[in-house]
């Protein structure tokens, strides 16, 4: 029998090629797993199956032409990438933004953050084998997509922000829908908590699984909820406030153990905090313009470089642009959180079971096309 399970080198180890087509790799991730029975000896994530050359496109187009690309880098948080991009260029070119537009951007971004987290919530439970929460989460997410549809005209790739403001003003219908959604969610959290967060099987599947400690997180550049689950209260919205985030009262949820359950918990509470931000923004929504008039078609972009970081649902995301005085950037680099978050798997997966690998991969919430860009 021993001869059957040994490879050429005489080890009892065999390789399982998980992905790129696999139900739980969330897109086109491929992980080469060296297994001893069901235990993982070595894990090697292979990326690059979703490469679309966004950075290069950014270097060949006008800033406003590249803008629609940004919502396609991370298709679950399109609006946040839009938002970050316009903020970068506004910082670069010194464009002023009206107050009302700033508030609208924050409301739309936070709605998008909740929708991204809700999708993660559903698919994570799907990874663990609970199929029903997926449909409940999507039912809630559908409300957000409808709300964003009324102001942006699309459901996934929004392209809503503009240099110097936003594309369309919000009306009373949008505000009513958003308030109704917040009311709906406030009763929903308790349901989710009772049915999922307190489920014995769920806790057993995630407690102490895939522990990322603070040191490891720093080494790999892990950010976002994954870092906060280790107990580091780092959130760009708080540490380097952009837009009007410094005017809102919200908490940065943190965990203590850095395991899958903590990551779940952090994201879960983040959705509630986003709801709080939206509520405050709606209460203080100022009247006025939504778009600065006379933003030139061709931007007078100076020579030099600009770096702008913002908080996407997956962590610290940043645009880094180098201008050479022409109409297009000389270099357009996008710092994506999923890259660091994914590669930490190299260290976390060995020693766990195949079932754990899926639970850990789901818990770090990666968007593969974002990594490949």
């Amino acid at each position: 029998m021993d001869e059957l399970v040994k490879n050429e080198a005489g080890d009892r180890i065999y390789t399982l090629n998980l992905g790129p087509q696999h139900p739980s790799t969330h897109g086109v991730l491929r992980i080469l797993l060296d297994l001893d029975g069901e235990y993982i000896v070595k894990a090697d994530p292979v990326i690059g199956y979703g490469h679309r050359g966004h950075e290069k496109m950014g270097e060949n187009r006008l800033y406003r032409q590249f803008f629609p690309n940004t919502s396609r880098i991370d298709y679950l948080a399109g609006l946040l990438y839009n938002h970050g991009f316009v903020l970068t260029v506004e910082k670069f070119a010194g464009i002023k933004v009206p107050e009302r537009a700033k508030y609208i951007r924050v409301i739309a971004s936070e709605l998008n953050r909740i929708s991204s987290h809700l999708l993660w919530f559903g698919t994570y439970l799907l990874d663990i084998g609970g199929i029903t929460p997926f449909l409940y989460a999507f039912d809630d997410r559908e409300q957000i997509l409808d709300i964003l549809d009324t102001i942006t005209g699309s459901r996934l790739t929004y392209s809503y922000c503009r240099l110097g403001g936003v594309a369309r003003d919000v009306d009373s219908k949008f505000i009513d829908m958003t308030r109704a959604f917040l009311k709906r969610m406030s009763s929903r959290w308790a349901d989710y908590e009772a049915l999922v967060s307190k489920n014995v099987i769920f806790i057993h599947r995630t407690r102490d699984v895939g522990v990322i400690d603070e040191e490891l997180a720093r080494q790999y550049g892990v950010t976002g909820p994954n870092l906060r689950a280790c107990g580091v209260a780092f959130d760009v919205r708080r540490s380097e406030p952009y837009e009007v985030y410094d005017r809102f009262d919200f908490e940065i949820p943190t965990g203590s153990r850095g395991d899958a359950l903590d990551r779940y918990d952090v994201r879960f509470r983040e959705m509630q905090q986003s709801c709080r931000i939206i509520e405050q923004a709606l209460d203080h929504l100022p009247e006025g313009e939504i778009l600065t008039p006379k933003v030139p078609q061709k931007l007078p972009v100076p020579k030099g470089e600009v770096y702008f970081a913002f908080e996407s649902p997956r962590g610290l995301t940043a645009y880094y642009m180098v201008g050479d005085g022409s109409q297009t950037p000389y270099r357009c680099h996008i710092r994506v959180p999923s890259f660091g978050n994914l590669n930490v798997l190299n260290e976390v997966l060995p020693g766990t079971l195949v079932a754990d690998a899926i639970a850990i991969l789901g818990s770090i919430d990666v968007v593969i096309p974002e990594i490949d860009r």
């Binding site: 399982l16 069901e38 084998g129």
Partner: protein
């Protein structure tokens, strides 16, 4: 025989087999539809609605589609074993119907070792799954097959121990006698622990969620039947649902009083209806559990069996034996 062939035991058996085949197929089709409806309503959606009234004919349409599909043999797969497995998984399931008492006297062949026969044959399912997984020449399928064997070995023991406590009380392995002795009080009230252990172990035995780790779709794609297409997959599918019916029917006979009404009150409902009502209720419970809970992990599943279920069922058996001896 004075009545000739028509009154003989042979005729009874052949007629029974025809009825069993027809019933098991229709029942499996109905259960697939029921599962989709139950899951749909649990998940805020209507389930199949298009084919037939409330989608009743949906599974027939799916069956026709499956029959029309090509059977794909993976490269370097073991051809004989690969095609043997789906047959092997479906055949033993049918044997269970032979000894199940649907009503008073309504049993195809009342054997004095009926209980033993059902469990002996249901064990063959594991062999079929191992065969299918091994012959597929696919690592996911092999992992699923290996998991399945470990799981079934671990859960057969508490399952049989739970059944043994009932057998000890009745002093018989015949289903009819077991049901007969529950005329006034169902055994679930005397043996609640055994009933619970049986239901949990049976869920694991039939590879149903939350114990569906041999086919855990988010980990192993489709587990042991990853490489099966067309009716090969269809037979695995039908076997799962038929198996579910057998397991629930056995539970009904052993713990829920079979064709007997509650506390001897039959409310004028015929015994067959009582039996089917309870069986389908148990099936509904198993479906309900599937769409409510996430999947357990493999090592947790094994620990649960060896450290909790087996000691509990053993203790239950010993206590039952002592009490039976004293009384």
């Amino acid at each position: 025989m004075s009545e000739g062939f028509w009154g003989s035991e042979w005729f009874r058996l052949i007629l029974g087999l025809v009825i069993v085949l027809a019933f098991s197929q229709l029942n499996a089709l109905f259960l697939v539809w029921l599962e989709r409806k139950v899951s749909g309503h649990i998940q805020l959606r209507p389930g199949p609605m298009e084919v037939g009234p409330h989608g009743l004919l949906q599974t027939i349409a799916d069956g026709v589609k499956l029959i029309g599909k090509e059977l794909i043999l993976p490269l370097q797969a073991d051809k004989k074993l690969f095609f043997l497995a789906p047959v092997l998984v479906f055949t033993p399931v049918l044997v269970g119907f032979l000894v199940l008492p649907f009503g008073p006297g309504l049993v195809i062949h009342d054997m004095n070792v009926g209980v033993l026969l059902v469990f002996a044959f249901s064990t063959i399912t594991v062999l079929a799954i191992l065969t299918g997984g091994w012959a597929s020449n696919n690592k996911y399928a092999l992992l699923g097959a290996v998991r399945s064997v470990a799981q079934n070995v671990a859960y057969e023991i508490p399952l049989l121990l739970a059944v043994m406590s009932v057998v000890l009380m009745v002093h018989s392995l015949s289903f009819s006698q077991i049901v007969e002795s529950q005329k006034t009080v169902w055994f679930i009230f005397i043996q609640p622990l055994a009933a619970l252990i049986y239901l949990i172990a049976a869920t694991a035995e039939t590879n149903r969620a939350p114990f569906d780790i041999p086919e855990a779709e988010s980990e192993l794609v489709a587990g042991f039947h990853t490489e099966y297409s067309g009716m090969g997959f269809g037979l695995f599918f039908l076997a799962e649902y038929t198996n579910m019916f057998i397991v629930c029917a056995v539970a009904t006979s052993l713990f829920l009083g079979g064709w007997n009404g509650l506390f001897g009150i039959s409310l004028g409902i015929p015994g067959v209806c009582w039996f089917l009502l309870k069986t389908y209720f148990l099936i509904f419970v198993i479906m309900w559990v599937r769409w409510t809970f996430p999947r357990v992990r493999f090592d947790q599943l094994m620990n649960f069996s060896w450290k909790v279920m087996i000691p509990l069922s053993l203790a239950n058996l010993v206590i039952t034996a002592i009490v039976v001896k004293i009384i």
